[in-house]
């Protein structure tokens, strides 16, 4: 199954009731999957919106009345969604937003890129807020994290972004779906369902009272701290004896893994560190690894965005190199291997078996 369809199926199995989207390559298969499979489900709704701005605001509405809702797009469309995401964050409304990102800036290319890292991990829109950002690196993980995204969104009442890329969306791999679609989900207690037997409720972001706004920011901040503590996810591969550790996320981590296997075959002691949550960023784990290895090589399909989070985590301790390919170019494992080897030898690192 292709990655886009896998997200669609996993969303339906997670109880997604509403999907609103606008066509853009390379994520159309997801919109089309929902048109075929969600639109006719009982109690569910699919709309091809007239724009990404409308789609995210439809999500806002559906979430306000308590439905599990999702939208998806690719880079240029994500820019249009940012206003809506800021409002979702402010109103503490859960939502799942998928970005099968492509090469930018501007209309750019439709080929896979990772240049939306800053936009995704820094909130993206205006105001002081964060979104949880999940970065899968296989079709199976796309499906698993889609399910998880819905749970996290509800649990913390926060928008969750799944940051994939064109390649993950288009690629086909076998997938197991571990859940059946629930018959019925409980309605969130904060949903607007009419003031029947209770006082009326409001969803709003505007206030003339600055101290009220400050309090909202503080309460969001405390929740963000809790998320940082509890939900940071991370994977490592062959790091125990590694002299050099590659730090990469998403599909780049996959390509790096291929390179690392070849490097190991040549006797280079190289490992991989892969953040699965980009926000919260696994700074603590990166710092630990930097203490055991001689150096880190950050590899991204952009000009160095996660690199800044790695540098922030290290606070000037430890040596960090960078290799980046922007614009939608997909480097091959052997290109990454060449960069690994160059740094390895230049740094005079020891070989092993």
């Amino acid at each position: 199954m292709d990655g886009n369809s896998a997200v669609g199926e996993a969303a339906i199995r997670a109880g997604c009731q509403c999907y609103f989207g606008y066509p853009i390559t390379p994520q159309n298969e997801l919109t089309e999957y929902m048109a075929t499979h969600l639109s006719r489900r009982k109690g569910c709704s699919f709309i091809q919106a007239e724009s990404e701005i409308s789609a995210i605001n439809m999500v806002f509405g559906a979430s306000a009345v308590g439905a599990r809702s999702m939208t998806s797009s690719s880079s240029p469309g994500m820019s249009l969604k940012q206003e809506g995401i800021s409002y979702l964050a402010s109103c503490e409304l859960p939502a799942v937003i998928v970005n099968m990102s492509r090469g930018g800036p501007g209309l750019g290319t439709i080929s896979a890129a990772q240049s939306d890292y800053f936009q995704s991990t820094r909130g993206g829109g205006h105001g002081d807020y964060r979104t949880i950002v999940l970065a899968p690196s296989s079709v199976q993980e796309l499906a698993d994290l889609t399910h998880r995204a819905f749970d996290l969104a509800d649990k913390y009442r926060i928008p969750v972004i799944i940051l994939g890329d064109g390649m993950l969306g288009q690629m086909q791999e076998p997938v197991d779906f571990r859940h059946e679609a629930p018959a019925e989900l409980p309605v969130r207690s904060d949903a607007l369902r009419g003031a029947r037997g209770r006082p009326s409720k409001i969803v709003r972001t505007c206030t003339s009272n600055t101290s009220e706004m400050e309090e909202l920011n503080w309460s969001l901040y405390r929740r963000y701290q809790l998320i940082e503590k509890k939900e940071t996810a991370f994977e490592t591969f062959l790091v125990d004896d590694a002299e050099l550790i590659v730090v990469a996320f998403g599909i780049a981590a996959r390509i790096a893994k291929g390179a690392i296997k070849s490097a190991r075959a040549n006797g280079l002691k190289v490992g991989l560190a892969r953040p699965i949550t980009l926000w919260p960023f696994p700074s603590g784990r990166i710092k630990e690894l930097a203490a055991t290895a001689k150096c880190l090589l950050v590899f991204e399909m952009n000009m160095g965005q996660m690199l800044e989070d790695v540098q922030l985590a290290l606070q000037g301790q430890g040596e960090v190199f960078f290799y980046g390919r922007p614009g939608g170019v997909i480097p091959t494992p052997s290109e990454v291997l060449r960069v690994i080897s160059r740094h390895y030898y230049q740094r005079g690192l020891k070989k092993g078996k």
């Binding site: 390559t25 390379p26 439709i110 064109g166 390649m167 288009q170 690629m171 086909q172 791999e173 076998p174 996959r254 390509i255 893994k257 291929g258 390179a259 690392i260 296997k261 997909i330 480097p331 091959t332 494992p333 052997s334 290109e335």
Partner: protein, 176 residues
């Protein structure tokens, strides 16, 4: 053992279905697989290609730096991919359309007159299946039976298409 193959040709030559068939067959045989197609504008521009990785272990990169096998259904694909084939690998080409000019001595060239054979079978569109049959025979990545089984599931209700394509597969398989 990790084996990567690139299938390439004009849009409309059924290049992606060849790759998909191989990937699904390998999956049925219990292997790990990835199928990575080219998409979008690139496809409208007239060329299509896909990379299939088959392995007993977890597949790290779905991208191929140096594929073991390349299948070139037209001349531009041959030119584009012939230098990528791993030393000791095999380059299959559609001898009906492609004129091999490969100066490399370290790979094997296999010409399959896929176009002509398909014409003879009265179904020019199934040249891709002739090629896939020959490919399955030569590479032994998957068994012919599984490939045929996949064909039947993909083309579910279209008995006529299934039988034409199976004939084409067999014609390719019987070449070697």
């Amino acid at each position: 053992m990790l084996i990567k193959t690139i299938f390439a040709g004009f849009g409309g030559q059924g290049v992606l279905s060849m790759g998909l068939n191989l990937a699904e067959a390998a999956m049925l045989e219990g292997k790990n697989v990835t199928f990575l197609p080219s998409y979008g504008v690139e496809v409208r521009g007239g060329t299509a290609n896909c990379t299939v990785a088959v392995s007993d272990e977890e597949i790290a990169s779905p991208v191929a730096s140096a594929p073991e096998f390349v299948v070139a259904m037209n001349q531009p694909s041959l030119v584009r991919f012939q230098n990528q084939v791993q030393s000791g690998g095999v380059l299959f080409y559609n001898a009906s359309l492609v004129n091999p000019q490969n100066p490399r001595g370290d790979i094997e060239l296999v010409g399959v007159p896929a176009g002509e054979i398909a014409e003879k079978l009265d179904s020019p569109k199934s040249a891709n299946m002739v090629m896939l049959g020959a490919f399955a025979r030569k590479t032994n990545i998957v068994s012919m039976d599984t490939v045929a089984e996949v064909l039947s599931t993909i083309l579910k209700n279209k008995a006529k298409l299934v039988s034409i394509n199976k004939k084409a597969l067999k014609a390719g398989y019987d070449l070697f």
